[in-house]
Amino acid sequence: MPLLELKDISKAFGGLKVVDRLNFHVDEGEIVSVIGPNGAGKTTVFNLITGIFHPDSGEIVFEGRNVAGLAPHRITKRGIARTFQTLRLFLNMSVLENVMAAQYGQTHSTSFEAMLRLPRARREEREIRKVAQDKLAFFGQRLAGYRHDQMAYSLSYANRRRLEIARAMATGARMLLLDEPAAGMNPNETLEITELIGKLRDEAGYTILVIEHDMHVVEGISDRVIALDHGVKIAEGSFDEVATHPLVIEAYLGARAAPEAEAV
């Protein structure tokens, strides 16, 4: 049974069909890339999976249960966490606090317990801090010790992307949705993020669905590639299969001038 399965998902904004009867699945431990030209509906698919939008029809099955229609924080609690294409860190909180805040769904002590410093609140607080440090340690020197108390806004662009991943990891999710993790990075940083995504699966055991425009990254990481255009899946398979698929080439480069078109 796949970990995540989209069944006939459709979403329209007014008259515009952004996602049209989309079907795909992601197996446990897989890295699947979603590609497609701008406006193909990739980020909308992420928004649908994470509950920011609700699908008009269809089912999103995660771990055998339909999560379509749930509030985003409930879906995250079930085990799907994401990063944002346009970074959305809590800029005026420290690096460590960003990661600690994401563990809200994993903890249970109430504000009353916190006010009175009851044992469960104190224990959970220690655990939250420990987990946050562990998640940041995954990024080695990049988000190491002395940075923990710095404000998120003082981080460089690449480190903000890393912090977003750390924050998503801290939610306790099994599956990460990464929305253009290499966007805006220089070639060196892109290589590094490629390796990091592999590490996330191999060492940390995450299942990963990733949107990416950089074909080198897609080629380097993907077990499987799904190509979207106008909200419809146009190809699926290994990187080579998808990259040479005529519909994908057409979507990116436009159709070769067809005789009928010339006639008109």
Binding site: P72, H73, K77, A101, T110, M115, E124, I128, R167
Partner: protein, 503 residues
Amino acid sequence: MSEQLGDTGIPAGVPAVPGGVDHPRVGVDEWVASHEGRREAQKGVTGALYRAWDRIPAWGHLVILLGPFAIFPFVANEGNLFRYGLITILYALLAMGLNVVVGFAGLLDLGYVAFFGFGAYLYGIMASGHSGHHLQAEIAIPIATVVTALVGLLLGLTSWRLLGDYLAIVTLFFLQAFVIFVNNANGGPSDFSYPFVGKVDITGGANGLDQIDPFNLFGYHISTTKQYYFFTLISLAAVMILLYFVNESRTGRAWRALREDPLAAEVMSVPVNRLKLLAFMFGAAIAGYTGTIYGAVQSGAFPGDYDVGLLITIYAIVILGGLGSIGGVVIGALVVNGAPELLRSSENARFLFYGVLLLALFVALRPWYRPVIVLLGTIAFGFVVHAIVGAAWSRGTAGHIDGGGKVGRALEHWVLLPTHVNRIAGWAYFALICAALVLTLIHGWWRTLALIPTLYLVAFVWENELVQQVSGATRLILLGALLVVIMNVRPAGIFGTSRVEIV
């Protein structure tokens, strides 16, 4: 390939920690990080003070902030204890709740003082000669607090769909509805007729709900100002401690996250709507609790007390102290309530006036020798003018400074004090405004030099015109100027941290 990746972007030999032997190359991560640190580090005395303050543990902050308040009743008389002491800590306690809603969670709630009113009226209904019920305070206070919190929950529901300006408008409506309700709910002709019971006098209408009982806690009667003072002070300390712990917990972090970015918070497993309600409930509970104390202190609840004026005062306290800062609220209350009271005496007002002028001079003029030149120049200029006018027109220096003191007597030898000053002062005021406009047009050394006669003119206008009305308009002008100066020096409030919105 992987061997290179570890130090991508940083040439070999650059240490990971800034401040090492080699400095990080400009533009790499480490440089960006330490650059931000450099920019943030404050220079000079204020910077050192803030850093020292940060090193003190939290309980130390509490002792420093509230310690003077604990001593105050033993040195102040009854009237001062009420005006400076009790009202300040009541304001501080009330502003604590607003700080949760606006500072922690970032929800723009303009209906906040309605909860304060709810507390006072609820307590009045449960324990007053007006209503005829006389519940013990230990029962009435918790009931009033909890009911107010539930009303807060209801109002908070609007924040599920509304944020920012829209939430502000709806909550402001709520406040107005509350004021209109308490103004009319006296069973009179304009009152509602309630189902089953008909017209009932609930709030006493425009005349207020009077004869509210003093607190009777477990048989212990709180009635003097000093007793109320200590009761409020202990409540304030307790609320500060509880809020500090909440703010350091997962709830506090979730509030901050939702203030920063509600969508990201929601996706990071924070149930945003529930936390908004919780913030509203916290705020309303604190306001309701403060309201019961205020009702008992005033021995009455009056509609005019819970109006937009109070709302602005409480907002000023929270913003001046620094949004989201618990200690800042206390300082904010001290400034906002203390300053206008202190300014009632012309001596204090003069002290503050010249103090702010000096401070502004030294803050605005760089490098250091310019303000010194202006200052010495102004003093010399004053004596010269005084000597010339004294020789030529003896009436021009014959006046006296009211509210003397040593400073006042010294000033009599410096500033011109004509007798029968009215018309001259009016023209001087006009000239001062023109001079201020001219100052904005010139630059460099010309401006520095032009400052000298202008400052003398300022002193002249102050001593001959403004100081006469110090308990009226001048006091408020000064307060406004003081707030403008403070907010300019510390844009994020006294204890606030400046927030970065977009980078």
